[in-house]
């Protein structure tokens, strides 16, 4: 049992940390990829970055803030721009604010690392580090996020708070994986022409790297980089910790840990929805995805993940108090 506000703060703290980590990885991978396009026409960078901004869901805001779409503007937008609520800076400010409001629930070690990361990105030399080498800059953020996850596992009590933290992280991760994959959906849409070109292979490798899945994929498929196999891996891989199915399985188990009900059953609307999504992911394959169309399929996943988040909010954070008497009685019986 914990304060609803605390559960909410832990959930958002880890969601925003996960988001910052993913955006860092996406930026790192794509900036490196752009090195291959040096000297080509202006159209290429635009073509490369536009789907990415779109997939992260902020295209309108981006158009308002910048005239051009290139590496510089996209980097600024996704990294340092305070007006973008999903820039790395904004994510880390919110994550740290949430951590601060539940400082009594996380370990000193974990708090110090979150605070250190925040102080790093807020410091004036963060931009200097970036300009002297984007790779080192994003690496610092990713490393810190890994360290925070490690500390959460090594120094925090395995109680309900941990489950809300895990829930937030895996919900966000599933969502991010679906968005990263969605950037390349057009290649797998019916009637797409240029699939299979050399540039395309590089692009699919970048998608995998954005999910730290390149090596895991290669082990399984022996350097056979085929778009539909990449999609299959990132959606359905059973034991890869960033595949959508794995993430949903983990968050489903966290939901059951919180309520105490057995997996395979449901005690509230959040579990009902996560169980359904998990079962869909378990009993379908890439052919079903291709039939629906990858973009449409991923769109549905994102909206179902969103519904799970809302259901968690309604069940645990701002629950209905109309039946107060029963509520108090249940409470006293425990």
């Amino acid at each position: 049992m914990m304060l609803s506000r605390v559960a909410d703060a832990l959930y958002w703290m880890s969601r925003y940390l996960e988001r910052a980590e993913n955006i860092s990885r996406i930026m790192d991978v794509n900036l490196q990829l752009m090195l291959d396009y040096r000297g080509v026409s202006d159209a290429k960078p635009k073509e490369h970055w536009e789907p990415l901004v779109k997939s992260l869901g902020d295209e309108e805001l981006f158009a308002e803030l910048y005239k051009k779409t290139d590496s510089r503007t996209v980097t600024d937008f996704l990294t340092f721009n305070k007006k973008n609520p999903n820039s790395i800076l904004s994510c880390l400010v919110v994550a740290r604010e949430n951590a601060r409001s539940v400082r009594d629930q996380i370990s000193l070690e974990m708090w110090e690392e979150i605070n250190r990361l925040y102080l790093f990105i807020r410091s004036t030399n963060a931009r200097e580090v970036w300009s002297s080498g984007a790779h080192d800059f994003y690496r610092e953020i990713k490393q810190s996020s890994y360290q925070i996850q490690g500390l959460a596992g090594a120094t925090v009590t395995r109680d309900e708070g941990r489950e809300f933290t895990r829930l937030g992280r895996f919900l966000e991760r599933a969502d991010m994986t679906s968005r990263i994959l969605d950037v390349k959906y057009h290649i797998l849409s019916p009637g797409a022409g240029d699939a299979g070109s050399p540039v395309d292979t590089v692009q699919w490798a970048a998608v995998l790297r954005s999910c730290t899945a390149y090596e895991a994929y290669q082990q399984l498929n022996a350097s056979d980089l085929v778009p539909w196999k990449v999609a299959e891996f990132l959606i359905f891989a059973d034991s890869f910790p960033r595949s959508i199915r794995f993430c949903v399985k983990t968050l489903d188990s966290s939901l059951h840990q919180i309520s105490g009900s057995a997996t395979g059953f449901f005690a509230n609307s959040a579990e009902k929805q996560s169980g359904r999504l998990l079962s869909d992911l378990t009993y379908s394959g890439i052919e079903d995805v291709l039939k629906t169309g990858l973009h449409e399929y991923l769109d549905q996943i994102q909206s179902r993940l969103n519904d799970i988040g809302l259901a968690v909010f309604e069940n645990y954070i701002v629950y209905d108090l109309s039946d107060l008497e029963r509520e108090i009685q249940t409470q006293q019986q425990q």
């Binding site: 304060l3 609803s4 506000r5 601060r100 409001s101 009594d104 708090w111 605070n115 102080l119 108090l321």
Partner: protein, 479 residues
Amino acid sequence: MLFRNYKTDGFFDEMCDAKGKIRPHYRSLIAQFSALSKKEFDQKRQAVDLSFLRMGITFTVYGDQEGTERIFPFDLIPRIIPNKEWELLERGLKQRITALNMFLHDIYHGQRILKEGVIPASYVLSAKHFRREFMNFNVPRDIYIHICGTDLIRGDDGNYMVLEDNGRCPSGVSYLLENRQAMKRAFPGFFEKISVRPVDHYAADLLATLRYIAPHGEENPTVVVLTPGIYNSAYFEHCFLAREMGVPIVEGRDLMVRDDKVYMRTTKGLQQVDVIYRRIDDDFIDPCVFRKDSSLGVPGLVDAYKAGHVNLANSIGTGVADDKVMYYFVPRMIKFYLGEEPIIPNVPTYLPNEKEDRKYVLENMSKLVVKAANEAGGYGMLIGPKASKAEIADFKRKVEAKPRDFIAQPTISLSRHPTYCDGKPEGRHIDLRPYILHGEKIRIVPGGLTRVALKKGSLVVNSSQGGGSKDTWVLSGDE
């Protein structure tokens, strides 16, 4: 090395006597410091500052859009109090909180002290924080002020005096505890050589105090810390205390009142709360009773409190004892209720509301410190000798218009303490805020928070006005 050219400049100095000789209780410390080079000392200083920043031991600067957090400047040279001196202070502080609690009980019940003319009734009845709604209300265990921070200073002669009582939400105790931790990390060797009385049991004492005052004497009451939220300048402290006690820290929106009982909203439904250590002033605690615009409080909390289903620390209505005009009467309270002489005297004080005092205050304002009766944190204050003519004229007008709202005191040049400034130790003015807990027993953690005015010559030690702090050592012995 560090202290070779240290000068007392004719002030009462904590470390050196009038002839510049080091006082016996500082000798071992100086011996320890002398073994350090300036470079080593500087490194320690930077390391301590960085660790405060990293741990987020900061306060929020108001009026800054970025929500800037600063560390509370910490000086590495500790202030030392010999045990015998501390024992005297401890007795004096216990005497004072006992009298203040008896006073609060009295004015909210029979008002004997007013009827017998010891304190003019008009002063109490006109006090801003006197809560008529609580007349004849019995607080659990009859304790009003459970946590008190009393500011002590030493004047030219080195005698301790009480400067003010903080009987509402005194803050700063977390700095006292963190300062000690920082000193132990920076100079572990010192603590092996010098026997300093520990302070870490504060949180355990605080929890014992809060449990003792549960409304129905519950054996294992649910205690929470109520904070205004993460943007409050003292949020770090609220969180620190909750963590150290192992109790939830809640905001107003986490609590709700039904049938005069207070519940917190948890992921498993509602759980009843018995004791609230509230770090929100009376005015903000319940929008139904006090300030309607407050979103920090809990609607219905005051009713639950009156119904006796929840207790608050400190009680509602203790602010009347914080009124600086009431401070003037504390020595009389001690005599009236306890039949004793005050062990620690007040600073001589004038009440402009009394005709003779007013004449004196208006004529001598340039020599006096004038304070608003209901302000804290160094606000609403005039330091005569440092004020411009215009400022003095302005305060004269204010005092004449509302004499009840002010007190005046002679300018006391607070004792000084060597403090590391501009690369060397220099004398800076200090005060001392001990924290007194009143539960089953009265407990005081040895020492308190020593605050230091870092600006040369300044007498204002408040953190909001350029003050810093020091670790405070009460020795197990006298040397």
